[in-house]
């Protein structure tokens, strides 16, 4: 059933190459052509992809990929074994890859490196990325397959992971990436696949661990920009890079974010405030009712309203707040943009503030800006004896932002503060990126 009908067989001598001499001549010419062609072959261009083994170079500037595993690529032992599969992820991943422009006004041009990446995860044009790629922007420019420069808006944001679901402008064709729940096990190889205007990018990534559903990933080379999609070697999207070396399972994230967006809860209301319960010695210092404001996101709704660290929030509108949980519950029920009244206890008096409810995304964006502001407060062990800190379970390298509501810089200032009263000292500390109050019992 699968044969071409050939013209009826004829005597061999009638054929074009019927004689031995003709065959020999053809074979010689062909062999000569092949040899000449091989000899005259130009030196191939230097391979663009290289695995830096000392200092990781900035990924976007230095590393470009080609699907064919280049010779030096196989020199990396952990990659060598499975390098053949490297090529599968790239063609599968590219049609869904989107670069996110650094500049709000301009699409990502050839000369511009993108702020991060994203990946199309649904036929509706939903793009999964990480807030780190958006730099706080609610609307971003990106570039889909099909050479369409378009805008996308934040559809849903998840404050715990920082993952963002963007929605492309309507009508922009988008091909969704194939996703999988079967993540590679720790130690396995994966491929980061992305694209921007003047190139494709793929870099092998080793999944170095999985902890509570969050992957630790180690790119073979430079760090991954936020939002870079990670593919299994069989070409299915399994995770999306966050900041640092973390990556989050993609399919589950899409499901969560889509569910939020569908329930019209893509934007959690937020006040940009973190609080702690008033118990034990803190209740002595601040009273028993309400929650203690441990830190505020600068420029966030609560901060803009005038709330300060060390304030005690006692009521939102008319409702009493008695625990951090009740505050969370109340905030969750608020509407974005609504004006709310905050009853705050400060310095022995109750005061009212009016705040405009923001969203978790805006707050996270402002928090990102705040991180950049350097702080140089003294370390706890510069002000207090180590045994005292130990007794209060305060880490010696915590930064002391304030004692009893005042900034302090030396032991002398602490001694002055000690002379002022007899109650416990309340330290305002920053440790591992968190700000909080902690009581410090006086030494007998």
């Amino acid at each position: 059933m699968t044969q071409v009908r050939h013209s009826p067989s004829r005597a061999s001598a009638d054929k074009l190459l019927g004689t031995a001499a003709r065959k020999l001549r053809l074979a010689l010419v062909a062999a000569a052509l092949l040899i000449v062609g091989a000899v005259l072959a130009p030196a191939t261009a230097p391979r663009a992809l290289s695995i830096p083994n000392e200092r990781p170079a900035p990924l976007l500037e230095a590393e470009i990929l080609r699907r064919e595993p280049p010779s030096d690529f196989s020199a990396v032992p952990e990659v060598a074994a499975r390098v053949g599969a490297f090529g599968v992820a790239v063609p599968r991943g590219l049609p869904s890859a989107v670069p996110i422009a650094r500049d709000h006004a301009a699409p990502p041009g050839p000369a511009l490196t993108p702020a991060g990446f994203g990946v199309v995860v649904s036929g509706d044009g939903d793009v999964l990325t990480h807030a780190g790629a958006l730099a706080g922007r609610f609307t971003v420019h990106l570039h889909t397959a099909g050479h369409i420069s378009t805008q996308a808006q934040v559809l849903a944001f998840e404050s715990t992971t920082g993952l963002v679901l963007l929605r492309l402008s309507p009508g922009v064709p988008a091909a969704a990436a194939p996703t999988t729940d079967n993540a590679p096990p720790a130690g396995a190889l994966a491929v980061a696949v992305a694209r921007w205007l003047n190139g494709e990018l793929a870099t092998p990534v080793v999944v170095s661990g999985v902890n509570k559903g969050v992957f630790s990933v180690r790119p073979v080379g430079a760090a991954l920009p936020p939002g870079t999609p990670l593919y299994t070697t069989t070409g299915a999207l399994f995770a999306i890079a966050g900041e640092g070396d973390q990556a989050y399972p993609a399919r589950a994230a899409v499901e969560r974010l889509t569910a939020r967006a569908l329930a019209n809860q893509g934007h959690e209301p937020a006040l940009g405030v973190s609080v702690q319960p008033l118990d034990g010695l803190l209740a002595q210092a601040f009273g028993e009712r309400g929650v203690l404001v441990a830190s505020l996101v600068a420029g966030g709704p609560a901060s803009a309203a005038g709330v300060e660290p060390g304030d005690v929030i006692r009521r939102i509108n008319e409702d009493a707040i008695d625990s951090p949980e009740s505050l969370l519950r109340h905030v969750a029920a608020l509407q974005r943009g609504a004006q709310i009244g905050l009853l705050v206890f400060r310095g022995g008096k109750e005061r009212g503030f009016t705040a405009t409810v923001g969203t978790a995304f805006e707050v996270a964006a402002r928090m990102r800006q705040r991180r950049d502001a350097p702080l140089s407060p003294p370390r706890a062990d510069a002000l207090f004896p180590a045994p005292q800190l130990e007794a209060a379970q305060v880490s010696v390298d915590a930064l002391v932002l304030g004692v009893n509501g005042r900034a302090v810089a030396s032991r002398a200032e602490v001694a002055r503060e000690l002379r002022r009263g007899t109650g416990p000292l309340v330290l305002y500390l920053e440790h591992e990126g968190e700000r909080f109050f902690t009581p410090l019992p006086r030494l007998p």
Partner: protein
């Protein structure tokens, strides 16, 4: 699923699809492709992406065998009969598809290099599907004669044009190599892919002929032909040549060398059905039907312009030929199908011009879904209308006749 199980499943699915295709009065190829879509990652995922990738070599081998078969079309006396006309038709249909697609895409505001690349891909006609349909209906006649020679020439023409276009684009793109070096690289690449591949095919062909004189039994002949096609495909990959041209040249050389060639090709005919069935089911599994939804204006322009170019070009090319009006009207429609080479070119574009990769991939893969399904149906219809189909699919032959006759 492991690979062996998936191959088994593919063959069983192909068998079922072949029967269903007869019932549904569509070519077997269409049945294979559709069942591929159904059991592939796009639908039930019985054959996963991973399976499709691992079994990719099967497709390469099958395509090599198909082109080896088609190469035999270039048997000198046979080609002398239809050759000149076919060259003219090929030039017209492929060039017109190129020009129309290029213009249509430029009108949509696409960058010219991108439009050029897509226009080259649009020139291609699928050899495998065409050969399958022709064989299924045991077709004979002026249309069939031309059709098979056409797809063979078409593919060579496409590869040469692609070489030229990539050379031009490489030259205009800023790069570190300098104008002269880039120019040399491009020219060498073009000559190497075409002449080098032909030389490899010819060399292997002469060697095959020497062996063929000793391979008297059909079993031996089968081993020889499959083995040499594998070597041709593998060596082309190794040397950076085109497996497509090399296997075509191999087939042509074998057919022209001696009477043993026919013996070899006949032996091969018994060996390959399972491989071909697997080839088309896998091709179906690789189709992404949903990509059609994302086709957009550009994709529609591409599809329409390509089809118009092919149909119109074939008509113009046939002007001076003495053929029946049915052949005149149907030949262009037989050239619509598009598959493996288009996908192959897309893969090459991805590595050579990464900036255009995403667009080309999106449009070509979506268009292939359409052309791959519609193409065989049109070819079957043409074979029935021109009366070249010898075996009418029984027991439905009357219905088929009623279907195509006015």
């Amino acid at each position: 699923m492991n690979e062996i199980l998936s191959v088994g499943l593919i063959l069983m699915a192909a068998l079922t699809a072949g029967h269903l295709a007869k019932l549904a009065r569509v070519p077997e190829v269409t049945g294979y492709l559709l069942v591929g879509v159904v059991i592939g990652p796009a639908a039930f995922d019985l054959i996963s992406h991973e399976n499709v990738t691992t079994l990719g070599f099967l497709s390469e081998v099958a395509l090599g065998l198909i082109l080896f078969n088609i190469g035999a079309i270039f048997e000198a006396s046979n080609f002398a009969r239809v050759g000149p006309g076919v060259v003219r038709i090929t030039v017209w249909e492929a060039t017109l598809a190129f020009v129309l697609v290029g213009l249509a895409l430029l009108l949509t505001g696409m960058d010219w290099p991108l439009a050029l690349l897509l226009a080259v891909v649009a020139m291609e006609t699928a050899p495998a599907t065409t050969l399958m349909v022709v064989n299924e209906y045991d077709a004979k006649g002026p249309l069939t004669d031309r059709l098979l020679a056409l797809v063979a020439l078409n593919n060579m023409y496409v590869l040469v044009t692609f070489g030229l276009v990539s050379a031009v684009l490489t030259l205009v793109q800023p790069s570190d190599g300098g104008w002269l070096l880039n120019g040399y690289r491009a020219a060498h690449g073009l000559a190497w892919t075409t002449l080098g591949s032909i030389a490899l095919g010819a060399l292997l062909g002469v060697m095959t002929d020497l062996w063929a004189a000793r391979a008297k039994e059909s079993g031996e002949a089968m081993i020889l032909s499959v083995g040499i096609v594998l070597i041709a495909v593998g060596a082309s990959r190794w040397l950076g040549l085109s497996p497509l041209i090399a296997t075509l040249a191999l087939g042509a050389t074998v057919a022209n060398a001696s009477a043993h060639g026919d013996h070899l090709l006949r032996a091969l005919g018994r060996a390959d059905p399972p491989l071909y069935a697997a080839f088309f089911v896998l091709a179906g599994a690789e189709l992404v039907p949903s990509s059609v939804l994302a086709l957009g204006v550009v994709g529609v322009c591409y599809t329409v312009a390509r089809a118009s170019g092919k149909i119109l070009g074939a008509r113009i090319g046939l002007r001076r030929e003495e053929v029946s009006p049915a052949v005149r009207s149907q030949l262009g429609l037989c050239l619509i199908s598009s598959s493996s080479l288009a996908v192959g070119l897309t893969i090459q574009i991805r590595s050579a011009f990464p900036a255009y990769a995403a667009t080309v991939t999106g449009i070509v893969l979506a268009a292939v879904v359409i052309f791959e399904i519609v193409g065989p149906l049109l070819t079957r219809r043409a074979l029935l209308i021109t009366g070249e189909a010898q075996t009418r699919p029984s027991p439905l032959s009357e219905a088929v006749e009623a279907d195509v006759l006015p």
